[in-house]
């Protein structure tokens, strides 16, 4: 029983890190492809492009943070794992789902918005500020999902 609970908890941690990471990788990839296209014609835009390309990368960091939070909670870094029942393991796994799912989808969505913003600064470099705000709006929901995951994890008593 002790091992089964840990499996669910670790599964939650893996989902948070994996799915949010995939979302970020896809998002950064899309923005990067558009950025590379812009820089082929105008290498001087590297600074602005890099900033916009990096934005969808935060979901992966949030996922990693949530995953580590679970590992710390389980006491896996201290060498003596906490006793986790199946119910507790499942609670932890479900607590990880907000950042896992929202991280995956918002990472991709933010990548697309960043790509659009990169296109915007290619034509109107003077609008860089506005171009950054638009994809940053998508970030809000990843932050909310991370907050939800942390609050849910903190409410689980081991």
């Amino acid at each position: 029983m002790l091992v089964d609970g840990l499996v669910f908890a670790l599964c939650g941690s893996a989902l948070a890190i994996g799915l949010a990471g995939i979302g970020s990788a896809v998002g950064v990839g899309i923005a990067g492809a558009t950025g590379a296209g812009v820089m082929t014609e105008d290498p001087g835009k590297f600074g602005q492009v890099l900033l916009l390309q990096a934005l969808p990368g935060t979901q992966g960091i949030y996922g990693l943070l949530a995953g580590f939070w679970v590992l710390i909670k389980l006491g896996l870094f201290g060498g003596t794992p906490a006793t986790v029942t199946v119910a507790q393991g499942m609670q932890i796994m479900f607590a990880c789902l907000p950042i896992a799912i929202v991280g995956l989808l918002s990472g991709i969505a933010q990548g697309k918005t960043s790509a659009a913003s990169i296109g915007m600064i290619a034509r109107r470099p003077e609008e860089t500020g506005k171009a950054i705000i638009l994809p940053a709006m998508v970030e809000t929901y990843a932050v909310l999902a991370l907050l939800a995951t942390i609050l849910l994890l903190n409410s689980i008593k081991l």
Binding site: A33, T34, G37, G119
Partner: protein, 345 residues
Amino acid sequence: MKHSAVVPSFREDTNFAYLVGRVRALESGLLTQKILDNLLRADDLEQALRVIAEVPYWGTVLPSSVRSLQAIDEVLVNHYWEIVEDFRQYKVAFPLVNFFTLGFDFSFLKLALKYHLAKKDLEKSYPTTLESKRVLRFFSGEGGEFLPHHFEMAIRETLTVFETHAHNVQLLELVLDRFYLQEVYRIATTLESEPLRNWLFAFVTFAYIKAALRARCQGKKPEVMRFMYFANPLISQESFLRFMELPSDKVSELVGDFGFDFLFPQGVPFRDDSYYLAEVEKNINNYLMRFARSFRAPVFGPEPVFGFLFAKGVDVKNLRIVLEGKYFAFPQEELRNKMRECYYE
């Protein structure tokens, strides 16, 4: 045909992300109405060239050291060709860029065939995807030489028609135009993008209307124009021929039946003359530009790439009109009336 009615939803094709990025950067080098106005205000060609030399991007393409009209034309054509060929290298964009290279290829074929039939050598190289030496060997019927299927078919049929119709050079162009439009239609049917498909369908339809009106101006017989027609659902052969057979006062009605009233100048009755035809051609161009502009905004998919390449072609056309006009000292207003709409207002 209202373009708002034929623009459906867009696919989120991220395969085009890199090319769209390039296009967005290149779009800042497109001509705007403001630049064209400055060019129109120039007193002569020299001043116009100085104006263009100061425009970012165009200044490097067309330095003020280029003076003669022929040299300017060559620079502009080569510049456009380089961009089209550059985009053609990307496999993902190949089918849509193919539309732009086709125009160059068929122009080259027309010229090469005329030279071949006149037993003259082509002295210069021309922008085309075809290998000129291979094309010339194909004309001579050298065994083992082959070209892409539609070019082979076009050349074979053109040569046959030329032989069987008393060496009529006019037919040569018409047959090649038919193969060109047939290929454009085929490209349209293979494209996944609905807006681009509709755009190309509009292009083919307008090409037939334009050809019919030009035939009226030039006094070409409808029987001859049949050589240009291929069976398609966009415009029937009967309608195509009717454009040429109807009396002048009935042409507007026929155009109205198609829903293309916007092609004719408002409040001016139809006339069989080159000035009226020039107006119609401008309206067709502007309609296609507005259509292309309607799918300019999407971030992903082939549409912005296609729109940019079309806009680049229109820029070249506009520059030709204004620089040629300045060379021949045409009045500013006359030139302004000839200008096509820009991609970005």
